[in-house]
Symmetry: C2
Subunit: 435 residues, 2 copies
C-alpha cells in the first residue's frame, strides 16, 4: 500500500533544507504528522504521541541559531527508553502512565543535535516476545517484527526519518528485515544505554532503524556524542557468507536469493567466500539463551514479585522460565563459552571484511509471531560485534527480506562504510508491494 521507506529523502537532504530555510523544522514536522494521520490507523506504530509537543520542539529549533546535525529530523523512540516529556511504559500495563524524570542519554543527545522526538514507538512487552499493536506496513496481516516493532514500522512508512530501538537478541535486525529498513546494532558498549530498560546487561545495546546507511552513520555519531564524519569510501569488500548449522531452516527462496547476492557481489569485484562455522560458534545459540534468561529474570525481580499476574504468558513461560531453571554454574559456563568465542573472532575475520547472513528466514511472519527464529541473531549479538541489516532482497510475495552484515568488533565505522558500498553498488529492490 505504501512506498518503501528506502525511497524517501536522506537526513542530509532534509537537514540541508531545514538549515538553509528551504523548509522550516515546523513545516517538516507537520508533514510527518500529516503522514502519521494518514497511515497510523493501519499500522499502530505509536505508543505515545503528542502532536503539540512535536510542533513545540520544531518551533524551538526554528527560533534558535543553532543548527545541529539532525536539525529538524523527526525521530521515533522505542518505549523502553526514558523520555522526560512522554510516558515510558515498556509495553506493559504495569507501567501505564509512567513518566520518567529525565531523558535517556540517547534521547538527550538526539535533542542536542536538533532532532525532534515525535513520540514513543511500540515495543513488545519488556522488549521480549509478546507483541504490541503494530502491524507490518506492507501487509496488515503480518508482523512488523519485534521487539523494536514501532520504530521499524514508523521509519518504513515514512512517519519519521529515523528511530531508536534496542537489541538483546534480534530486536533491531529482525524488524529491519520485516519492515524493509536499514538496521544497526552497534558493537556492545559503544553507545550509551543510560535510561534504557535493562533486559540483559551482557548483551543489551540500543539500535538504530533508518532509511539508508548514511543516515545511520550520521545518527551514530550523534549518539556517540562526537562530530559528524562522512563515511570513507571503500574498495569492493571481502565477503564471507555464514551458512551456519541452521542453513537448511532458511526458506528455500531466501537461500536462493542469497546465492544470487553472492553472484552479484562477485560481479561487482567483491571477493566472496564462506565463513567456516565451528562447533564453538554453534554453541553460542544456547549460551545466549541461558545468559539472557538468567539476567532478564533477575532484572525483572520487582515485576515478578509485585506484578506477576500482569506479565504475559509468553514472558513467564519463555525467558523467565529459562532464567529460573538456569543454575549459577550453567550461567557462568555459558558466559565463559561466550568469552572464549569472542577470542576466536580475529581468526574468523582473518581474510574477510564482513560476514553476510540472512536477517530473517524469509518474509515477515504472521502478526502474532513477532520474534521468530532467535537463532538467526544469537551468535552475533553474544559476540558483541556490530551488525548492519540491509533490506536488499525481495521475497516471493514482494516483501522485504534483510541481510545481516556483521563486522569486526569495534570497527563500526568501517562496517558502515562497507554497508554503504553494498547499498550504493547493489541498490534496493525498486519497491516492496503487497496487500
Amino acid at each position: 500500500m505504501i512506498d518503501s521507506g528506502t525511497s524517501s529523502q536522506s537526513i542530509a537532504d532534509i537537514v540541508a533544507a531545514t538549515t538553509s530555510g528551504q523548509i522550516s523544522c515546523r513545516e517538516w514536522a507537520q508533514s510527518r504528522l500529516d503522514r502519521i494521520s494518514s497511515v497510523e490507523a493501519h499500522i499502530g506504530a505509536w505508543a505515545h504521541l503528542d502532536p503539540q509537543l512535536v510542533l513545540d520542539q520544531a518551533d524551538r529549533l526554528d527560533g534558535s541559531p543553532a543548527h545541529g546535525p539532525l536539525h529538524g529530523i523527526t525521530v521515533g523512540v522505542k518505549d523502553i527508553i526514558d523520555t522526560q516529556d512522554l510516558p515510558t511504559e515498556f509495553g506493559s500495563e504495569i507501567y501505564r502512565g509512567h513518566r520518567p524524570r529525565r531523558d535517556a542519554a540517547s534521547v538527550a543527545l538526539t535533542r542536542r543535535a536538533g532532532g525532534v522526538i515525535v513520540g514513543k514507538t511500540v515495543t513488545t512487552e519488556f522488549a521480549n516476545v509478546t507483541p504490541g499493536k503494530t502491524a507490518n506496513p506492507f501487509d496488515p496481516s503480518r508482523s512488523p517484527g519485534g521487539s523494536s516493532s514501532g520504530s521499524a514500522a514508523a521509519v518504513a512508512s515514512g512517519m519519521v526519518d529515523i528511530a531508536i530501538g534496542t537489541q538483546t537478541t534480534g530486536s533491531t535486525t529482525r524488524p529491519a528485515s520485516f519492515c524493509g529498513v536499514v538496521g544497526y546494532r552497534p558493537t556492545f558498549g559503544q553507545l550509551s544505554t543510560s535510561g534504557v530498560m535493562q533486559v540483559s546487561g551482557s548483551v543489551d545495546t540500543i539500535g538504530i532503524l533508518g532509511r539508508c546507511v548514511e543516515d545511520i552513520a550520521v545518527y551514530r555519531d550523534v549518539l556517540l556524542g562526537v562530530p559528524t564524519k562522512t563515511l570513507p569510501l571503500v574498495s569492493p569488500p571481502r565477503v564471507g557468507f555464514a551458512r551456519t548449522n541452521r542453513w537448511l531452516e532458511i526458506d528455500e527462496t531466501t537461500r536462493s536469493l542469497l546465492d544470487d547476492l553472492a553472484d552479484r557481489l562477485a560481479a561487482n569485484s567483491a571477493s566472496v567466500g564462506e565463513v567456516p562455522w565451528s562447533p564453538s560458534m554453534e554453541g553460542l545459540e544456547e549460551a545466549h539463551r541461558w545468559i539472557t534468561g538468567f539476567e532478564m529474570t533477575r532484572n525483572l525481580s520487582w515485576e515478578i514479585d509485585n506484578h506477576w499476574d500482569a506479565l504475559s504468558d509468553g514472558l513467564r513461560d519463555g525467558r523467565l522460565r529459562d532464567g529460573e531453571s538456569c543454575s549459577e554454574e550453567l550461567y557462568f559456563e555459558m558466559r565463559a563459552r561466550a568469552a572464549n568465542s569472542r577470542h576466536e573472532l580475529p581468526s574468523l575475520f582473518a581474510d574477510i571484511d564482513v560476514i553476510v547472513a540472512p536477517a530473517a528466514i524469509g518474509e515477515a511472519t504472521p502478526l502474532d509471531d513477532p520474534v521468530p527464529h532467535p537463532w538467526l541473531y544469537r551468535p552475533w549479538t553474544l559476540l558483541h560485534v556490530p551488525v548492519v541489516t540491509l533490506p536488499i532482497l525481495k521475497g516471493p510475495n514482494g516483501l522485504p527480506v534483510g541481510v545481516q552484515l556483521i563486522g569486526r568488533h569495534g570497527e563500526d565505522r568501517f562496517l558502515l562504510a562497507v554497508a554503504n558500498w553494498l547499498e550504493k553498488t547493489l541498490g534496493y529492490p525498486s519497491s516492496y508491494t503487497t496487500g
Copy 2:
C-alpha cells in the same frame, strides 16, 4: 567514639536469631533505628529514612512463613539506586523528591531474600567528587570516603548490617578503607546494575559494604539471585604485592604496615611475592580517566543541557571537562588499551591467587576531600577484576587503613574464600579509635 563495625554480629548470627524467633524482625529493626537515633546526628549517613516504612517491612517479615537468607537483615541502599518507596536523588538537587516507579534489581532481590531496606544512603553528587553531608564515623573532621559515603558509614557505625554501594573508580573500595568495613567490588557484569544510575557503562558495578567477608558472600549470592553457598575453605594463598609505579606516593607508615602484612602472611604459610608492574598496567590509569570522562559526559547529557547551573564545580571542572576534551579517537584508543591489558591478566595471575594493594594511601582524608587518589583503584576497576577490601591495617591515629585483595576475573567466590582466610587468620585491629 564508636566501636568498629567489624566487632558486631554477622548476618548468619542475626538470621539465626530472627529465623528461630529469638528476636523478631521488628525488634531487630527497631534496635537499628535506635542506633540511628543515637549516632546519625553526628554521622549523616542517610539521605532518606522513614522509620515507619522500616517497621512495616519488618512486620511483614514477622507475619510471613518465608525465611530468606537475609531474614530481617537491615540494609542501606546508596541513593543512586532506584527504590519504589523512597526518593532517589543521586546526591543532586536536580532530583529533589524524585520517586522511581520500581525497585532496582538489587533492591528487589534484597527484599525477596528477607532484607529490610532501612533507607537511602548519602552519595557524592552523581557518585562523582562533590561530597554529601556524611562524616567519618571515627572522626567527624574526616571524610567517610566517596562516593558510597553513607553506605560505608552506616555499616561502620552499626546503623545497618550491610549496604549496597556502587563503583566506577574506587567508590566502594575507598569508603571501605576510610570507614573500616569490608568492601566488595564484583567482577564487572556479574551483578545486575538494572535501576542503578549509569555513570560509565564500561566499568560501573554495584558494590557491597559489610562487616565481614562471610556477610559479603551471603549478600552476593542474594544479588546474583542464586541459593546461598558457604565459602570453601582454602589453603594459605599465594599472594603477590603490587607495588606499582605510584608506590612512593603511599604514606610511609602505610608502606611499612604493608611490609608487616607481608611478613604476617608469610608467617602464616602464605606464599608472598611481588607482582611486576608493566608499562601497559601503568597506562590503565590514564585509560580509566578518559573512558569514564567520555562516558559520564554522554550519560549526563540531559542534566548538562537542562540543569548546567545545578551541577557542582567539581563535576563540571573534572570529569565533564575530561569528557568534553576527549576525542573519539582517544576514547577508542583507551578502550583498546584496556582490552589489551585484560588479555594480560592470566599471566599476571599465573603464579598467584590474589594481588594485594593498598586501598588508600593512609587514613581518611579531610571532610572536603572525599575521593582522593583515584589512581589507587583505576587499574583494577578498568581490568574488570573483583576486589575485596579488608580494613586490616591501623594507621598512626588509630584509624583504619584498608587493603585491596584483587582476584582473577570471574573468580569472585574463590577471592571471597581467600579474603575469608585472611580475615580469619590475621583478624582485624582490636578497635579503631579517635577523638
